[in-house]
C-alpha cells in the first residue's frame, strides 16, 4: 500500500487570504470521504494551486494563545473568558499569517513506512500528499494510518505488501 491509497483525496483547501473564521468553519465541516465531520488540518494553496502552507487546529489554538504566554509560565494567571476574548480578536486574522509554512509532505508513491517515518521524525500528524508535478492530491492523516495498522494487527495473515 502507498500513500495515495490511504490518503483522503483533496476536496477542500484553504487560501492564504481566508480569514481565520472562514478557515475554522471549513475545518469543522470539511469532508472526510463522504461525511462532513471535519478534519484536523487543511492545506493552503495559492491562486495557481501551489502548496504554500498547512493550517491545523493546533494553529487555531496558537492563534488565541497570546505570544507573551509562551515566554513565561503565566498559565495560572489567566482569567475566565480570556479564550473567548482572544478568539473574537483572532477571527479576522488571515490564514497566511497563522499557517505553518514549512510543510512536511510525502510523495504519492511513498510507502506507508516512509510516511510514518516522516510523521514521527517531524512530529506532524497530517501530511499533504504530492504528485510528480508537486501538486497536492490528498491528505494523509494519522488516524487513517492508525486504522491501517490496526487492520494488520487484527488480521495478521494479510501482513507483507500487496
Amino acid at each position: 500500500m502507498k500513500a495515495k491509497d490511504l490518503m483522503i483525496p483533496l476536496q477542500e483547501y484553504l487560501e492564504p487570504d481566508n480569514t481565520l473564521k472562514e478557515a475554522a468553519n471549513l475545518l469543522r465541516i470539511a469532508l472526510r470521504g463522504e461525511e462532513k465531520i471535519g478534519v484536523k488540518a487543511l492545506p493552503v494553496l495559492d491562486a495557481s494551486g501551489n502548496l504554500i502552507g498547512i493550517l491545523s487546529i493546533g494553529d487555531i489554538l496558537k492563534a488565541v494563545h497570546p505570544a507573551y504566554m509562551d515566554l513565561m509560565n503565566l498559565g495560572s494567571f489567566a482569567w475566565d473568558g480570556m479564550v473567548e476574548t482572544f478568539a473574537q480578536k483572532a477571527s479576522g486574522k488571515k490564514v497566511r499569517d497563522l499557517m505553518t509554512s514549512k510543510v512536511i509532505t510525502v510523495k504519492e508513491d511513498a510507502t506507508l513506512m516512509e510516511c510514518i517515518d516522516h510523521m514521527l521524525k517531524n512530529k506532524v500528524k497530517r501530511v499533504p500528499v504530492l504528485n510528480k508535478e508537486h501538486r497536492v492530491t490528498g491528505m494523509l492523516y494519522e488516524r487513517d494510518m492508525f486504522y491501517e495498522i490496526t487492520k494488520s494487527m487484527i488480521n495478521e495473515n494479510t501482513g507483507g505488501g500487496k
Binding site: P66, M69, L74, S76, F77, W79
Partner: protein
Amino acid sequence: MTEEVAAATTQVVMGSSFWIATAIFLIAYAVIVSEKIHKTIVAVFGAGVMLILKILEQHEAFHVEEFGIDWNVIFLLISMMVIINLMRPTGVFEYIAVKSAKLGKGEPFRILVIFAIVTAVLSALLDNVTTVLLIVPVTILIADALQVDALPYLISCALASNIGGTATLIGDPPNIMIASKAQLSFMDFIYHLSPIVIIIMVFYVFAIKLIWGKKLKTKEELKTRIMSMEENEAIKDPVMLKKSLFVLAIVLTGFIFHGVLHFQPATVALFGAGLLLLLSKTHEPHHILAEVEWPTIFFFMGLFIIIGGVVKVGLIKWMSVQVLELTQGNMFATSMVVMWFSAFASAFIDNIPYVATMNPLIVDMAKQLWPDLSGTQLLHHADLMPLWWSLALGACLGGNGTAIGASANVIVVGMSEKLGKRISFGKFMLYGMPIMVMTVLVATVYVWLRYYVLKI
C-alpha cells in the same frame, strides 16, 4: 595648563599604525551604528584585524590591563547571567510581578507606578536587560486583563529599568565597565549614585503621573481578575528558589564588602555562579551555560580589543587633549560636557562602545592633568571622581532617549513587536527624550551641588 596640554599632544605619534588603528575603529563603529552587520560580528572581526595587523599584540589583548580585554567585566556579566538563568525557572519573577499587580489593587495607574519601582529595583540588583525580559510578558498580561493600553507599561518598563540600573555597580553595563576601569567599589556606587537615582525615580513617578495618570482607567469588575490571581502558583520549584535566594544574598553581601575585603566584583559573582550551579545539582550545565548571552559577551571582548588598539596608538590620548582644550581644564565644565555629551551620545549609539571609549579617555585626561600620580591616587583624584559619576549618569540615563539608546529599550521594543504591540521609533522618543532630558537635568543639579558646591 595650555602648555601642559600642548606638550602632551606632541607625544602622540601619528604614524601609519595610528591611522590604521583609527580607520579600523571608525569603520567598526560606523558599521555598528548602521546595523548593517550584527554588532558582535563587527566587534570580533575588527578585533581580529587589530591583532592580525599587529596594531596590538595578542598578549596585550589578552593579558595587559591597559590595552586588553577587561576580564573583570566579562566574568561579572557571565556569572550574573548564570545565576539569573538558574533562578528564572523557579518562577520567582512571575511571583514578584503578580504580587506587585495585586499590591496595586488592580488600579491601572497604581500598578504602573509599582511596576516602575519594582523594575528599577530589580534592574539595580540584577541587570536591566534580564529585568525587562522578565517583566514585559507579565506587564502585557496585566494590561490585557484590565483591558488598558499596554504601551505605557512597556515604555515605562524600559525607562525605569535604565534609571534603576544607574544606581549600582551591577545595574548597567556602563557602570560595570566604569567600576572596573576606575577601580570603584560597589559601595562607591551606592554612596554616589543610589541617592540621586532615588530622587530621579521620584521625579519620574511625577512625570508618568502627568503623562498617563488620567488616561489609564478600567472597570471595577476587571480589577477582580487581578485580585483573584494566585501569586503562589507561580513558584514552580521552591527548593531551588531557596537555594537561589541564599546564593543571591551571599553575592549581594559579597558586593557590599568586596572593597573592604579586596575582592573584585567578578570574584564574588563567579563564586556565586559556581556555588549555585553546585547547589542546583544539575548534571546538564550545558543548557544553563548556553543561555548566557554569548553575543553580548563577545561584543564586549571584541570591543575591548579594538579600543585597546586605538589606546595604544594614541588616538584616545589625542581625543582627551581635545576635550581638555575645549573645557580649558575647568573640571566642572569638563564633567558637564561629559555628562551631557554622554547622554546624547548614548541615546543614539550603544552606550557600551561609547563608555568603552570614554573610560580610557578619562584616564588619559587624568594622566595629563596629574602626570606625577598613578594607580588609585590618579584614578580616585578628588577632582576626577565627579567625572566618573558624570559619565555613569550621562551614559546610563542617556539610554532612555531613543528606542535604540539602551539594550533594555531594544529588548522591550523587539518583544513588543513580536507580541503584537508595535512601538515606533518616534513613539518611543516622544516619551523617552523628555524623560531623558529631565533626569539628566536632575543629575546635573546633583553633581553641581554635591561635588562643586557642597564638596561632599
